[in-house]
Symmetry: C2
Subunit: 195 residues, 2 copies
């Protein structure tokens, strides 16, 4: 699992039935609201969509970050797990790295406002930061290490820094036809290459 344990996990003292139901409903409502209004959608809107009071949402997900993490956990997990797979199945480590970063970019640019939230220094997004870093930095580090060992890229690249840079490049990628985050990220990974 993943640590937050804010889900239907089997641990602890088993919550009340209505509480579990509400948590589920909220997750669905939030997912839908994120799609239509971005991850910055007002808390009240999510509550209204779920048909619950504002207090309920705060009780289950004390910060917006908790809600975002819960909604996107599966996808982040999938991305993390894709790392080793790509490394095993790609022609070179650098190719694996590029493909993995593509996955990450795909994920970010299709979630309205997520890239912004990810880089925000607002304390409310602390756990969001932490989750992404915990889960993805090690994967990225492994890919970087493999590529560096193979002599394909410069050896001094820090995984955290790279992910942060990639995340930054994804900001505003939706809602701006003149800006193509993928191309920019491509430039970045190209610049990483040893020549």
């Amino acid at each position: 699992m993943v640590g937050t344990d804010s889900g239907s996990g089997s641990s602890a003292k088993r919550k009340r039935a209505d509480a579990r139901r509400n948590e589920e409903t909220l997750l669905d409502a939030a997912a839908a609201a994120f799609v239509t209004s971005g991850v910055d959608v007002p808390v009240r809107d999510i509550a209204a969509r779920a048909g619950v009071g504002i207090g309920t949402i705060y009780r289950h997900f004390p910060t917006r970050a908790d809600l975002i993490v819960a909604v996107y956990q599966h996808q982040v997990e999938a991305c993390a797990e894709a790392g080793p797979t790509l490394l095993a199945n790609s022609s070179t480590p650098h190719a694996a790295l590029v493909r993995w970063i593509d996955l990450f970019v795909d994920f970010l640019v299709t979630k309205h406002g997520l890239a912004e939230a990810l880089q925000s220094d607002d304390a409310a997004f602390e756990t969001l930061h932490a989750y992404f870093i915990d889960r993805l930095v090690p994967v990225c580090a492994r890919l970087l290490d493999a590529a560096a060992t193979a002599g394909e890229i410069r050896p001094d690249m820090d995984a955290y820094e790279l992910l942060r840079g990639v995340g930054n490049l994804c900001i505003g990628a939706d809602h701006n036809p003149r800006y193509d985050a993928r191309r920019m990220v491509g430039l970045l990974t190209e610049g990483l290459r040893l020549r």
Copy 2:
């Protein structure tokens, strides 16, 4: 000059003396506030610092963007003017491009929150966007063009997109010792290179 004409310009019907004084005071207060609290400092704080009412600040600078533009106009101007100079004085167009982008990055990372504001899609920052784009994109385009003509970089790079990417990379550059925007931007310009 620059178009906004929100300064002590000699055009129009010459404002009242107290109004001109207030505008000056506000500019100073805002500059100081931006330094200590970032460009997101509450409007009330700037007003308080300047010793004026809230209405006054809105009268002179209808949006936060107007204030930011007014405060940083000189520096943006200097950056824009440095473009041709660098092109004339550098060993190669690519070197000029890199040095110019360094200038831009230096400017952005030393203004707490400016990079964020620059990429925000909030309507309030519309004029900020517009000003930076109007002033800097042509300069960048000229540098890109020179470098492309010299065969140093790929010829398909759009100036707006590059500046946007660079701006994005500068987000969160202050207040995060683990992230070095300069290095990331360096990677980007390296990736631009033809090899």
